[in-house]
């Protein structure tokens, strides 16, 4: 794939992805066929900042977990009143990293 396109893609989406994976992703994208550029352009990622805001506002309802696709953990969090409030606070710290990991996994699934 064209280096300019790859760098444009990474510049636009780096904030959604895990920092330490960017190099591997770039290498992989460069090795990919040009025809897959369109598929990459239309990929949607979950914004970690939005998820953090949702987590702060509706943490005990586990909407943050449902938003990133952790349906099972979301149900557990919902049923336990947000882990008696502890899980809610832990998620305020962790949820942005978890969202970036989920986004990276989604991209990896698409390009590998």
């Amino acid at each position: 794939m064209d280096a300019q396109n790859v760098d444009y893609f990474l510049m636009s989406n780096a904030k959604f992805l895990e920092d330490h994976q960017i190099y591997h992703i770039r290498e992989r994208l460069l090795a990919m066929d040009e025809s897959q550029w369109r598929m990459l352009q239309f990929m949607q990622f979950t914004d970690p900042v939005i998820v953090l805001i949702v987590s702060i506002l509706t943490g005990p309802l586990a909407i943050d977990r449902f938003l990133i696709g952790d349906v099972g953990l979301g149900v557990i969090k919902l049923l336990t009143c947000g882990g008696l409030g502890i899980w809610v606070i832990v998620d305020w710290i962790l949820i942005m990293g978890i969202t970036r990991r989920k986004n990276t996994e989604k991209l990896m699934m698409a390009i590998y």
């Binding site: 309802l61 049923l79 336990t80 009143c81």
Partner: protein, 139 residues
């Protein structure tokens, strides 16, 4: 960190342990006394309304005292929590003993089922109805 089998099993085991510890701590109380003594719910604390799962502890306590109607009144989700608390330790023990991953496999199956529209929409509606009932009861 990705959710591996061992990490997930450990998480569920610790959650069950915390659940049993919590029940031992409040076991001597009557269900109606729990709400006034302990309040961990952030929704109730800040918004002054109960969350969808408020009353679950009182529900589990009522069910343990053999009061099914009381358990369902406080919060029907308590029945679900009690079933998980009773079944999960044995299931995890079986997986640990025979080095299997049936618990996490079933968990993923449950997740995938819940993602389907015809399951998700009624489930969300039931939780919302339960929430409205909780607010109406003022648990």
């Amino acid at each position: 960190m990705p959710l591996t089998r061992n990490r997930f099993n450990l998480f569920v085991a610790l959650a069950c342990l915390a659940g049993y510890g919590w029940l031992v701590l409040i076991g001597s109380l009557k269900p109606e006394e729990v709400g006034s003594r302990y309040d961990f719910c952030l929704v109730r604390h800040f918004a002054h309304i109960p969350c969808p799962s408020c009353g679950s502890t009182r529900s589990v306590l009522s069910l343990l005292h053999g009061d099914l109607a009381g358990g369902l009144y406080w919060n029907p989700l308590g029945l679900l929590i009690l079933i998980v608390l009773l079944v999960a330790p044995f299931w995890l023990g079986y997986d640990l003993l025979f080095k299997k991953g049936t618990f996490i496999q079933s968990f993923h199956l449950f997740e995938n089922t819940l993602r389907r529209k015809w399951v998700a929409i009624p489930s969300i509606a039931l939780v919302l109805l339960n929430w409205v009932w909780n607010i109406w009861k003022g648990v």
